[in-house]
């Protein structure tokens, strides 16, 4: 009976649950789903990690390649993040070019990486003006069940912190490159950004770490990114307005979570 009610009146179904102070998956409003992080399982990538937030699964793989730097930034390497939402992960997506959602989230992730300065592009320089690293950071979503950005950022850090680059000798006179595959070094990760997603239901109830269903039904989404104890990025793409108190509370709550996620990443690495 509940099944039919749910599919006929999804919003009402949710309201009934929320009126009793609980969510349909048994969580309270401010409870997160369990997080799982597994690093280094893909050895064709230079660094890799799989993050699970509840059902949501994201694999992050880093592949390093060599290239010439841009003339206007001769000491800067490249970091190219891309999030793929393949049709495999949800019936919402069809084969073909990336959906709007994939493009928006990719840009958001790129902004988070840039703003949090977790990677200093100057560290990726091998020889000024001649040779730098280009890190292709590819996220593949395997299960799309809400709060994808949170999972992406966790997997990103897992992958970055375990990534190892080989030692490169460059001879500028001969334009000769030699790579020592045995000797590998970690990349310096300067900060640990942590993102937390909130959903606003019916303009008033705030749900933490929403599932895909909740994201679909809610009236607004908010993503707060903290870097250590500094606020790094707040992303609120429209939706129902929030009062200042509500916003501050969300920020406060995501700050509390930062420590927990940081500890999780450190234990996994």
């Amino acid at each position: 009976m509940a099944e039919q009610y749910k599919s006929l009146h999804p919003i009402k179904y949710y309201r009934d649950y929320l009126a009793h102070g609980i969510r349909p998956d048994g969580r309270e409003f401010n409870k997160f789903r369990p997080i799982l992080l597994n690093v280094g399982s893909i050895d064709t990538a230079d660094g890799s990690a799989i993050a699970k937030v509840g059902n949501t699964t994201v694999v992050c793989g880093i592949k390093a390649e060599l290239c010439k730097p841009k003339p206007d930034a001769p000491k800067c390497g490249f970091l190219v993040p891309n999030l793929e939402l393949p049709p495999l992960c949800s019936p919402k997506f069809r084969p073909g070019p990336p959906s709007d959602q994939a493009q928006v989230l990719t840009q958001l992730i790129a902004d988070i990486i840039e703003n949090s300065k977790c990677i200093d592009l100057n560290d990726l320089c091998i020889f000024q003006d001649k040779l730098v690293w280009c890190l292709f950071v590819d996220f593949v979503c395997l299960d799309f069940d809400g709060s994808v950005v949170d999972a992406c950022i966790v997997s990103l850090l897992g992958a970055l912190k375990t990534a190892k680059l080989p030692f490169v000798e460059y001879d500028p006179a001969l334009d000769n490159i030699q790579v020592n595959m045995e000797e590998r070094k970690h990349i310096k990760v300067h900060s640990t950004p942590v993102s937390t997603t909130f959903a606003v239901f019916d303009d008033k109830v705030i749900l933490k770490d929403p599932t895909q269903e909740e994201e679909n039904l809610c009236s607004g989404i908010l993503t707060v990114v903290f870097k250590d104890d500094e606020l790094c990025c707040v992303h609120k793409p429209g939706g129902s307005p929030l009062t200042q108190e509500e916003l501050s509370q969300c920020i406060e709550e995501s700050k509390e979570r930062t420590l927990f996620i940081k500890r999780l990443i450190d234990t996994a690495v």
Partner: protein
């Protein structure tokens, strides 16, 4: 080439660093010599031994059916979705169709893969479709299409056969009516050596001929167990008729060896489902 505005593009030209590796790596020929001399493969399997299989269904919560398969390092995930009306089709079709898409994750291979499906992936999608088409009862869902997506997370050889076996399982998990259990196995051939379930390195060994007029190549077969039918057969390289006959015999046997693994898993799955239902 037109610029892809929907993704973040890196610099125009990048090179994989392995091209400039200093260490004098063993060439493929030397590796094959080693294998021939010792009679043992680099992961200490015998030539006709399949890698251990790990399978799991229900890994994608949003899909109707899904399966994950692991052959040591090779990792493939497959998901199957609810039937939907065949798009762009004016007339009514009495039979249902299946749509297959095979994709490598960008970081799954030694060389970085691009996001857009390349010709190899398109060909593998077609082979997958060929293998699965005769497995599903397509008359049960007329004018509808079942989408099957396979994603390789880590390529260490025999991805396509792993994807086909997993797709069979994912279809069963999704409750799509099927005639039979499908299993698929790859084989690499170089001279007199046959490698069942080759790793990526062994596949490369089999890619090029060692000498003039030797047998070399890769074979993949998919088999329907109960009906004893081959639903898909693909070979590439340069192989004599006798060798192919031998290969078919061996592959046929190995496919049969995989069936109990799949059966056991399916039975376990059914029992668990029944228990769940009772509990409700």
């Amino acid at each position: 080439m037109p610029v892809d505005h929907k993704r973040i593009n890196g610099p125009d030209e990048t090179y994989p660093y392995s091209l400039y590796a200093k260490t004098n790596k063993q060439s493929l020929n030397e590796k094959h010599e080693d294998i021939k001399r010792t009679g043992q493969r680099s992961d200490s399997r015998t030539f006709l031994e399949h890698r251990k299989i790990f399978i799991k269904t229900g890994v994608v919560s949003q899909a109707k059916g899904s399966a994950y398969i692991e052959l040591e390092n090779t990792k493939v995930i497959v998901s199957v979705f609810d039937p939907r009306e065949i798009p762009n089709r004016p007339d009514y079709s009495l039979k249902g169709e299946i749509y297959c898409e095979f994709k490598y994750a960008p970081f799954s291979c030694n060389k970085r893969r691009l996001h857009i499906q390349d010709t190899e992936e398109k060909q593998y999608s077609a082979i997958m479709k060929q293998a699965l088409e005769s497995t599903v009862c397509s008359h049960e869902f007329p004018n509808f299409q079942v989408d099957i997506y396979a994603m390789v997370l880590h390529n260490d050889g025999s991805c396509l056969s792993a994807a086909i076996t997993a797709a069979g399982l994912a279809l069963a998990h999704a409750g799509v009516p099927m005639y039979d259990i499908i299993t698929s196995v790859s084989l690499g051939i170089q001279q007199d050596n046959l490698f069942i379930d080759p790793t990526n390195e062994e596949q490369s060994i089999c890619l090029y001929p060692r000498t003039l007029d030797t047998d070399h190549g890769n074979v993949i077969i998919s088999k329907l167990h109960m009906h004893n039918q081959i639903s898909q057969f693909y070979q590439s390289g340069n192989i004599s008729l006798e060798k192919i006959n031998e290969a078919i015999g061996i592959l046929d046997k190995t496919c049969e060896e995989l069936v109990p693994v799949i059966q056991k898993y399916l039975v376990k799955h059914v029992i668990r489902n029944l228990k769940d239902r009772e509990a409700k």
